[in-house]
């Protein structure tokens, strides 16, 4: 295969990965909507005991997601409508004659559907990650000479989202992450698309300063830590949503307990922090020293990497000593994630003095002149 073929393969694989991620997202949304139905059904049977105001069930127009599972169930039963968002109102008012027996059967079917689409979504995500990997490899093979696929912002986005998805897949079973599936897949898909649409650059050889084995070590660790912090951040978001919700059903009900969320979030952050330390405070300075002659230049990227480091240090410190758990820790973790992603994309638009400017979408010629001042 020629370099050009590899480049084409990479672009096609990105497209394929995006489509499969999208399908995975759909599957997970079906899974979640079934959960919503399950929650409402449970609530409805409780309501029935108390209040009885039977009205005619609304003819439900079933949304795409729910109809797939709905078809499999007993036709004619009013419960066949359940599971869809729009039919929930009708279900609540369903005649009490439907009885609890129907509810039980209904619940079993619903659980089956949740499990089925959960598995399907996970499987699709695995396939998408495989495509994603092909895209990365293709990108690296397309360059002459072959290199690691993170030489510019587009490639870094490609790698970063891959790591997020891969860590998620790897930890899926251990931490029972099925509750975060739609969030992770939606995040990966969105960021990947932003990368393709906004940041895309044709394959090109590395600039001289990037031509170093530190590119492999430094950037891998930075990407790993970014992926871990992002997953930790998503967990913290879920924590905050759950802590504000009193519902015990629906997808909120499926999310693990607040303590578990807090612990998972902490563990992911505790993994990410040393890796981030290694990336920005050890390999970064070593490379900066070799390429730019000074190990710490107060370059905006460095400053923000340091800010991120300090915020996450604060997070771990607060948890360990000040007893900041739960809400306050989650907010701090989100502040950390905000600085992380601002550093990755945002700072390029606010500052033009960055020596990391090869990562910027465009640099004016003036900057280059000044670089040689």
């Amino acid at each position: 295969m020629t370099d050009h073929d590899w480049g084409t393969l990479s672009n096609q694989a990105v497209a394929a990965a995006a489509v499969v991620y999208f399908l995975a997202l759909l599957a997970h949304l079906v899974e979640w909507s079934a959960l919503v139905g399950a929650g409402r059904a449970a609530k409805a049977s409780a309501d029935r005991a108390a209040a009885a105001a039977p009205t005619t069930p609304e003819p439900a127009a079933e949304p795409v997601g729910a109809s797939v599972g709905g078809v499999e169930r007993a036709a004619g039963a009013p419960s066949a409508l359940a599971g869809s968002l729009t039919s929930a109102a009708g279900r609540a008012a369903a005649p009490a004659a439907a009885g609890d027996g129907a509810d039980d059967a209904d619940d079993a079917a619903r659980h089956e559907r949740v499990a089925l689409f959960g598995r399907l979504g996970y499987l699709l995500t695995v396939i998408a990650v495989a495509c994603h990997l092909v895209a990365l490899v293709g990108r690296g093979m397309a360059a002459d000479p072959n290199r690691v696929p993170w030489g510019n912002m587009y490639e870094f986005t490609l790698s970063g989202t891959f790591v997020v998805a891969a860590i998620y897949i790897a930890l899926f079973r251990k931490f029972k992450l099925s509750w975060m599936s739609p969030l992770v897949v939606a995040f990966v898909l969105a960021v990947l698309m932003v990368g393709v649409i906004v940041l895309y650059e044709p394959v090109a050889p590395l600039t001289e300063a990037l031509n170093s084995y530190w590119l492999v070590i430094h950037v891998i660790s930075a990407i790993l830590a970014t992926g871990a912090f992002t997953l930790g951040g998503i967990t913290s978001v879920v924590y905050l949503i759950k802590s504000r919700s009193t519902k015990e059903t629906g997808w909120i009900g499926r999310v693990p307990s607040l303590e578990t969320l807090d612990r998972v979030s902490y563990r992911i952050h505790a993994f990410g922090f040393p890796v981030w330390t290694f990336a920005v405070l050890i390999t970064g300075p070593i490379w900066a020293h070799q390429a730019w002659s000074s190990y710490w230049n107060w370059d905006p990227k460095e400053v923000w990497a340091f800010i991120t480091w300090v915020v996450y240090a604060g997070y771990l410190h607060a948890r360990a000593t000040a007893g900041w758990r739960g809400r306050r820790a989650a907010i701090l973790a989100l502040v950390g994630m905000a600085t992380l992603w601002f550093n990755f994309i945002g700072i390029n638009y606010f500052s033009t003095t960055s020596q990391h400017s090869y990562a910027a979408p465009a640099t004016s010629t003036l900057d280059r002149v000044e670089a040689l001042r």
Binding site: T277, F278, A291, F350, L372
Partner: protein, 538 residues
């Protein structure tokens, strides 16, 4: 990252109840000092200072910094006349050297030392102390369990001791006869202390670099007739640390004998340089001459000084003759690249030419071709061999008259044309020269010759004492961090008592770091206590 909050830490330590109720005016100076110290070293303050440090670093990344990019800073200051005086008062153009920034990290350091030193003693005592005795009611602990067995209490306890020892728990020596008390994970606090101490080491290393080090830049022409001797006067820009003295400059000199560059001829970045290296000959003191191939990412170290290749460009050789035919200016002139294809800008000044001073604002096009009647620079490569420079073009505007040479320090890349008159080629155009050509300037003021093309290298030369200390400190910090994050301090107790139904075994565990899964520890221990007993029976 801390496991416990010893009583020394006022952040959590209960204070005598009467203290807060006393009026502030009654605080004696000594008490006030002590109160301040307690506040400073409290966890809450440390945390606030840490987050404040992050916040304080933000403006430096958004506002151009004098030390990072002085040209950009002065441009910004000229463009924002209202904000500049305010920002200057607040030191916002030099955030990382500002007193208020220093105040934050010095307070943080004090807080850190105030926190770490007492804990060192606590840790030292804790290291030699026995694991705490078994609590009276084990089953009251959050993670505990109990079971009945037919084995005797001695058997169970003996096995518990073996199992716990194998799992590297430290056992209490004078334990009550019916129980085993154990503890592990002492290194967590050690890691924690090492991490905090390393932060101080890193700061010391960093401070050494910024106090005793320096950083200088110089542009050196390629060719063994040029070269560089390490003296302050030779630098184009020089940024010394506050305690730096010229005697710290290492004694060496070097020449750039040859400069190799390879160009991209296809692909999206065609015309750009791909890789380049300089062949240096250097000499330390009166020592032997040595050679080194200098490349980006591969600096040369001479003594404690390091030399980095950070840029390169063309230096067209230009000769200016004045109206009397005398040479008013001659030599390679450094042109600064304006884009990736090395279209470069430079200035020639011959202020003392007779009868009138001559100045040139010039552009250098390394490889110009005509496409549809328009000149286009194709690549930064001037070619090699006898065709080298065949397509190179020197294009300039000329100025005559007073070039203001006495008006104070001037940039070599800027022509002061305030008192001069513009001279143009016929048709009001710029003058264009190919290699070897000469053009006479109108009005008989002189001529300009484009003699040749040389190259220059931009080198950064710096000395950063303490960099190894800083690196060692960070590595140590990482090691400590790993210890403090992943070593789990645990206390485990096992008690066995004879009851009417058999031997009642109680097992309990406590993780003082929180977050640890102590239930699993208890489960695992019970499994190995009972699992073995099952095997014994069978």
């Amino acid at each position: 990252m801390t496991t416990t909050a010893p009583a020394e830490r006022s952040g959590r330590a209960p204070r005598p109840p009467q203290e807060p109720q006393r009026p502030v005016s009654e605080l004696k100076p000594r008490e006030l000092l002590r109160w301040c110290w307690r506040q400073l070293t409290s966890m809450r303050t440390a945390l606030v200072l840490l987050l404040l440090l992050a916040l304080a670093a933000v403006p430096g990344s958004l506002i151009p910094q004098k030390n990072v990019d002085s040209l950009k800073t002065s441009n910004w200051q000229q463009a924002h006349t209202t904000l500049t005086p305010i920002y200057q008062k607040l030191d916002l153009f030099d955030v990382y050297g500002a007193p208020w920034f220093a105040a934050i990290y010095i307070l943080l350091m004090l807080s850190l030392i105030g926190c770490i030193v007492p804990r060192l003693f606590v840790y030292w005592r804790g290291l030699r102390a026995q694991p705490p005795a078994t609590p009276q009611r084990l089953t009251r602990l959050p993670d505990s369990t109990s079971y009945l067995t037919s084995e005797s209490a001695e058997e169970v306890l003996a096995r518990a001791r073996t199992v716990l020892r194998k799992r590297r728990y430290r056992l209490r020596k004078q334990s009550s006869p019916d129980s085993v008390a154990s503890e592990r994970g002492y290194l967590r606090e050690a890691g924690n202390l090492v991490f905090h101490l390393s932060v101080i080491i890193v700061l010391v290393g960093f401070a050494m670099g910024s106090l005793f080090g320096y950083k200088g830049g110089v542009i050196v022409n390629v060719g063994s007739q040029y070269g560089f001797t390490n003296q302050m006067t030779q630098y184009d820009d020089f940024d010394p640390g506050s305690l730096f003295s010229a005697s710290r400059l290492d004694d060496f000199n070097f020449t750039i004998d040859k400069f190799d560059i390879s160009w991209l001829h296809s692909g999206p970045r065609a015309g750009m340089a791909r890789g380049f290296q300089s062949h240096l000959t250097y000499q330390q003191g009166n020592g032997p001459k040595k050679t080194y191939d200098l490349r980006v990412n591969h600096p040369l170290t001479i003594g404690g000084t390091e030399i980095f290749l950070i840029g390169h460009g063309y230096a067209p050789v230009i000769t200016v003759r004045d109206g009397h035919g005398k040479i008013a200016y001659s030599g390679p002139t450094v042109f600064l690249p304006q884009d990736n294809s090395f279209v470069s800008f430079g200035v020639v000044k011959a202020p003392y030419a007779k009868p009138e001073g001559i100045g040139l604002n010039a552009m250098f096009y390394p490889y110009e071709v005509t496409v549809h009647g328009d000149p286009v620079n194709l690549t930064g490569d001037i070619g090699s061999g006898k065709d080298a420079g065949k397509h190179a073009v020197l294009s300039f505007q000329a100025w005559k008259g007073d070039l203001n040479p006495t008006a104070g320090p001037q940039s070599v890349y800027q022509l002061d044309t305030s008192k001069a008159t513009k001279v143009t080629a016929p048709g009001g155009k710029a003058f264009n020269l190919h290699l070897g050509q000469t053009v006479k300037l109108p009005g008989g003021i002189g001529s300009v010759t484009f003699n040749g093309i040389e190259r220059w290298n931009k080198l950064q030369i710096s000395k950063e004492p303490g960099k190894r200390i800083a690196l060692g400190g960070v590595c140590l910090a990482l090691l400590g961090l790993l210890g403090s994050l992943f070593i789990r301090p645990r206390r485990v107790w096992v008690r066995a008592r004879d009851t009417e139904d058999g031997t009642l075994v109680e097992v309990a565990a406590l993780d003082r770091s929180g977050g640890g899964d102590t239930a699993a520890v208890v489960e695992g221990l019970v499994a190995s206590l009972r699992g073995q007993s099952l095997e014994d029976r069978s």
